[in-house]
C-alpha cells in the first residue's frame, strides 16, 4: 500500500460533469421538496425548505456556477452542506457515490476569477478515467453570483 492520504468526497452531477464536496461539509442528501420563494433574493437562491423542522435556504448550484437552468426532475437532489455555522441546500442534477480520492490525484485548478465555475473549484480529482471537480464550500457560500 502506498502511504498516500485519501479523502472522501460526495460526488454529484451537473450536466455531463462530475463534481465533489468534501464529506465533512455534507450533512445529508435530500429529495427536492416544496420551496418558499424569498422576495428580492439573488436569482441563485431558490428559496427556503422545511428540513425536519429547520428552515434551510436552497441554492440552485447550476445558476450559482453560471450554467443553464434545468427543471427539477426525479433525479434531482438537494445536498445539504455545512460550512461553519451556515447550512445551505444545493440543488444538483443527480447525486452519485462517495469516492475516496488520493491527495496525489488532485490537481490544482487553473486560476480565473472571471469564470464562475473555475473560481469555485479548489481542485480537480482523478479517479480512473473520470475527472471530478472538487468544489470549495467557502466560495459556494459567497453571495455575489
Amino acid at each position: 500500500m502506498a502511504s498516500t492520504i485519501q479523502s472522501k468526497y460526495v460526488t454529484f452531477k451537473l450536466g455531463k460533469e462530475y463534481y465533489g464536496l468534501p464529506i465533512e461539509n455534507v450533512l445529508s442528501i435530500e429529495k427536492p421538496s416544496k420551496t418558499t420563494r424569498i422576495p428580492n433574493a439573488p436569482d441563485f437562491i431558490i428559496g427556503l425548505i422545511n428540513l425536519r423542522g429547520d428552515v434551510i435556504p436552497v441554492v440552485d448550484l447550476r445558476t450559482k456556477l453560471g450554467m443553464e437552468k434545468k427543471q427539477v426532475d426525479k433525479d434531482s437532489r438537494i445536498i445539504i452542506m455545512k460550512e461553519k455555522e451556515n447550512i445551505v441546500g444545493l440543488i444538483v442534477d443527480s447525486s452519485k457515490e462517495v469516492l475516496d480520492i488520493d491527495e496525489e490525484d488532485i490537481d490544482k485548478p487553473p486560476t480565473d476569477e472571471t469564470n464562475a465555475i473555475i473560481d469555485c473549484i479548489s481542485g480537480i480529482g482523478k479517479k480512473g478515467e473520470r475527472l471530478i471537480f472538487i468544489l470549495n464550500s467557502l466560495k459556494l457560500l459567497e453571495i455575489r453570483s
Binding site: L48, N50, I87
Partner: protein
C-alpha cells in the same frame, strides 16, 4: 479536573459578583466591619477554590487580598480610598482571570506581581503603623472585644458559643488538611468566629498539634463532640461553653474597665444590627438552577414541534367534522400553551444579571469624569429571556456612557443651574404585556436640538430647507442615523463616532424598539421595549397571490379596508388619511417583487406601527391569527431585507415573517 471546571467558573462568578457588591457598599461605608469580614470570606473561598483547581496565580492574589483584609478587620490597617481602589483592581484582575479560564480552560501566565506588591505594601504598612496608631487598641484586645461582642449577640439570640480545643494525633500526616476538614465540619454546623492560631497559620501548618476555635452554633455540645470524634487523626477534643464578656464582667471586680467596654459594646451592637441588615441585602443570593442552555433549547424545540403539530391538527379538523377531534385539539392547545409557558419561565432570568455590573461602571466613569452621579435602579427582578440578556448588555452600556459623558453636567455647572450637585441616572425595568420595558433616564443637560440641527446639516443628513420646518421628534430620528455624534470632542468614554445607530440596530435585531425623549436642561430618557421571548410569537397570516406571509401581531394596530379613492400620492409615495394623520401606504405585493395587480376599488389593509410611526400594508387577503415558532434565517441570508425570520406552517410549508421595522 475538567468536570469541576464549569462548577468552578459558575461559583467564581457568583463570588466575584458578591465581591463587587460588597466593595461598592464598603466604599460608601468604610467603617463597616461586617462587610470587611464578608469580603474576607469571599476572598478566602476563592483562594480555596482556585487552589484546588491548581490556578496558583489566582490563589496567590486572593491570599494577599486576605492578608490585607485581615489587617483591616483586626484594625491594623485603616481602610481608605486608596485601599478600596486596590481592592477593586484585584477584583478586576480576578474577573479577567476567570474570563481567561472560561475561554482557555487554563490559567493565564501572569502572576500579577505589581498588584501583589501593592497589597503587600498595604499589609506591611499596617503592621508598622500599628504601634504608632494610638487610636487603635492592641490587636488582641480589639479582637477579644469583637469576638465577645459577637458571642454576646449570639447568646441573645439563643445560640451557644463553644470554645473548642482540638489536639491532633502526633502521627497525623497532613496537619493543615486535617484541620481544614475540622474547620469545614464545624463551619457546616455553625459559625467560627475566632481561631487560635489564625486560620491562615493553620492552613500554612504554622501550628503544633493543638489549635482552638470559638464556634457559635445552635447545636449541643454532645453533637459537636460526636462529629469531631468521627474525624480520624483527632487525638483529643475539649469543648467548653463560653460566657459572654458582660456576664463575665459582672463577676469580675474591675468595674471601671467593664463599664467602658460595656458602653462601647452597646454602641457596637447597635451598629452591627444595622450592618447586618445592609449585609443581608447585599448577600441575598437567589436560589438558581443551573441548566445547560442546550438542554433548554432542546426543550424549547420540543415545545415548538408540539405547536407545529397542533397547527397541523387544526388544518385536519377543517376536513373532518368529528367533535372529538375538536376537543382533542382544544386540550392539545392547552397543553402546548402551558408547556410553552413553563419552558419560557425556565429560560427567564432576572435582568439583574445585566444591571448588576452598572453600579461599578457608573462609579468608575464618574470618577474618571470628575462628575458626581447617583445611580438608581428599579425593577431588577424583571425577568427576560436568556437570549435577550446576552444581547441587551452592550446597548445599555452605551447609553449609560452617553448619559454620563454628555448628559450629566459637572458639579459646578449643575449648581449654577440650580440643580443638585449630584446627577441622577435612573435605570428602570418593568414588564408591559408581552414586552419588557427598560428606561434609562438622567437629569442632565438634555439634547441641544439646535446643535443637532446644525450638525445634521453639516453632515448632510438633512438640507437647510428641511431644517427650518423639522420638529424635535423628527430630529430625534436623525440622532439614530449612522455616524452621528454631537459631542465636540472625542473622549475615552463615548463619542468615537459609533453612535446611537449601533444601539438601535442591536435592539432592532432582537425585535425591540427604542425611543428617546429629551428636554433641554431637564434630562434625557431612553425607552427600550423588547419582547419577552424571541422564540414564539403571535402573527397574522396574510396572502399575497399564492404566497403566505406572517405579520407579528405585536406591531399590528388594526385591520381596515382602504378605498381606492382614499389613496393619494405625493412624489410616487402613496399616502392616506388615518385617524387624522397622513400615513404612508406600502403595497406589499410590489415590495415582494410580485408586481402590482390591476387596481382594485377596495383593498384589505393592515395598519402597523413602529414606535410612534404608522404605515398601511396592502395585502390580497387575510388568513387568520396564529401562534408560530420563529426560525432564524441564518447568517447566510443575513443580507435579505424585510424579514425577521421564517416559520413552518401547519401543512409543513415555510412562510416568511415580515420585519415591520424595515417597512415603516
Amino acid at each position: 479536573m475538567s468536570q469541576y471546571l464549569n462548577l468552578f467558573i459558575e461559583e467564581s462568578n457568583e463570588h466575584l459578583q458578591n465581591m463587587n457588591d460588597i466593595l461598592l457598599e464598603l466604599e460608601k461605608d468604610t467603617e463597616n466591619i461586617s462587610l470587611v469580614n464578608e469580603l474576607f470570606r469571599v476572598a478566602h473561598t476563592l483562594k480555596g477554590m482556585s487552589g484546588t483547581m491548581g490556578f496558583t496565580n489566582m490563589a496567590d492574589l486572593t491570599h494577599e487580598m486576605e492578608s490585607v483584609l485581615d489587617g483591616v478587620r483586626n484594625n491594623r490597617i485603616h481602610l481608605n480610598e486608596n485601599i478600596i481602589d486596590v481592592l477593586f483592581e484585584c477584583f478586576d484582575t480576578l474577573d479577567e482571570m476567570v474570563s481567561y479560564i472560561v475561554e482557555n480552560g487554563k490559567e493565564f501566565e501572569d502572576n500579577n506581581k505589581e498588584l501583589i506588591e501593592k497589597l503587600r505594601e498595604i499589609a506591611g504598612g499596617g503592621k508598622t503603623s500599628k504601634t504608632t496608631n494610638s487610636h487603635t487598641k492592641t490587636q488582641s484586645n480589639y479582637l477579644d472585644s469583637y469576638v465577645l461582642n459577637v458571642i454576646e449577640e449570639a447568646q441573645n439570640r439563643g445560640l451557644n458559643a463553644y470554645n473548642i480545643s482540638i489536639t491532633l494525633s502526633p502521627d497525623c500526616m497532613l496537619k493543615s488538611a486535617r484541620a481544614f476538614v475540622i474547620v469545614n465540619t464545624l463551619d457546616a454546623i455553625g459559625d467560627i468566629v475566632y481561631s487560635n492560631p489564625s486560620t491562615e497559620d493553620i492552613e500554612d501548618e504554622q501550628f503544633d498539634l493543638e489549635f482552638s476555635l470559638i464556634l457559635i452554633t445552635s447545636a449541643e455540645k454532645d453533637t459537636l463532640l460526636e462529629k469531631l470524634n468521627n474525624i480520624s487523626e483527632v487525638e483529643h477534643v475539649e469543648i467548653e461553653l463560653v460566657e459572654s464578656d458582660k456576664k463575665k464582667g459582672e463577676k469580675e471586680d474591675d468595674k471601671n474597665k467593664n463599664e467602658s467596654i460595656a458602653v462601647k459594646e452597646d454602641m457596637q451592637v447597635d451598629k452591627k444590627t444595622d450592618e447586618k441588615d445592609k449585609l443581608s441585602k447585599v448577600n441575598k443570593v437567589t436560589k438558581t438552577v443551573r441548566v445547560d442552555i442546550d438542554r433548554l433549547d432542546n426543550l424549547m424545540n420540543l415545545a415548538s414541534e408540539l405547536i407545529i403539530i397542533k397547527n397541523r391538527m387544526e388544518d385536519l379538523s377543517g376536513t373532518s367534522n368529528k367533535e372529538d377531534m375538536v376537543q382533542a385539539i382544544e386540550s392539545l392547545e392547552r397543553i402546548t400553551t402551558n408547556l410553552h409557558n413553563a419552558v419560557m419561565k425556565v429560560r427567564m432570568v432576572p435582568i439583574e444579571r445585566v444591571f448588576n455590573r452598572f453600579p461599578r461602571m457608573v462609579r468608575d466613569l464618574s470618577k474618571e469624569l470628575n462628575k458626581k452621579v447617583k445611580l438608581n435602579m428599579y425593577g431588577e427582578n424583571t425577568e427576560v429571556d436568556r437570549t435577550v440578556i446576552d444581547e441587551i448588555g452592550d446597548p445599555l452600556i452605551h447609553l449609560i456612557r452617553n448619559s454620563l459623558d454628555h448628559g450629566i453636567e459637572y458639579p459646578q455647572e449643575r449648581i449654577k443651574l440650580g440643580k443638585s450637585e449630584e446627577g441622577n441616572l435612573t435605570l428602570k425595568a418593568y414588564p408591559d404585556g408581552n414586552n419588557v420595558v427598560i428606561e434609562i433616564s438622567d437629569d442632565g443637560s438634555g439634547i441641544d436640538f439646535e446643535k443637532v440641527k446644525k450638525k445634521s446639516i453639516e453632515k448632510g443628513l438633512i438640507t437647510e430647507q428641511e431644517a427650518e420646518n423639522i420638529t424635535e421628534n423628527e430630529l430625534v430620528n436623525v440622532l439614530f442615523e449612522p455616524g452621528f455624534s454631537t459631542s465636540d470632542e472625542i473622549t475615552e468614554i463615548s463619542g468615537r463616532g459609533v453612535g446611537l445607530d449601533v444601539v438601535k440596530n442591536k435592539i432592532e435585531s432582537i425585535n425591540g424598539t427604542i425611543e428617546l425623549e429629551s428636554q433641554r436642561h431637564r434630562g434625557t430618557k431612553f425607552t427600550i421595549r423588547i419582547p419577552l421571548t424571541l422564540a414564539i410569537i403571535q402573527v397574522l397570516l396574510v396572502m399575497l397571490r399564492d404566497e403566505i406571509y406572517a405579520i407579528p401581531l405585536s406591531s399590528i394596530i388594526e385591520i381596515i379596508t382602504v378605498k381606492k379613492d382614499n389613496i393619494r400620492s405625493i412624489h410616487e409615495q402613496e399616502i392616506m388619511l388615518y385617524r387624522g394623520k397622513t400615513i404612508p401606504i406600502v403595497r406589499l405585493d410590489k415590495l415582494m417583487g410580485l408586481g402590482s395587480e390591476e387596481l382594485l376599488d377596495e383593498y384589505v389593509a393592515v395598519v402597523v406601527r413602529k414606535g410612534e410611526k404608522l404605515a398601511v400594508l396592502l395585502v390580497d387577503n387575510l388568513i387568520g391569527q396564529q401562534e408560530i415558532v420563529i426560525k432564524p434565517l441564518g447568517k447566510y441570508l443575513s443580507f435579505i431585507k424585510h424579514f425577521s425570520g421564517a416559520t413552518i406552517l401547519g401543512n409543513g410549508d415555510v412562510s416568511l415573517i415580515l420585519d415591520v421595522n424595515s417597512l415603516v
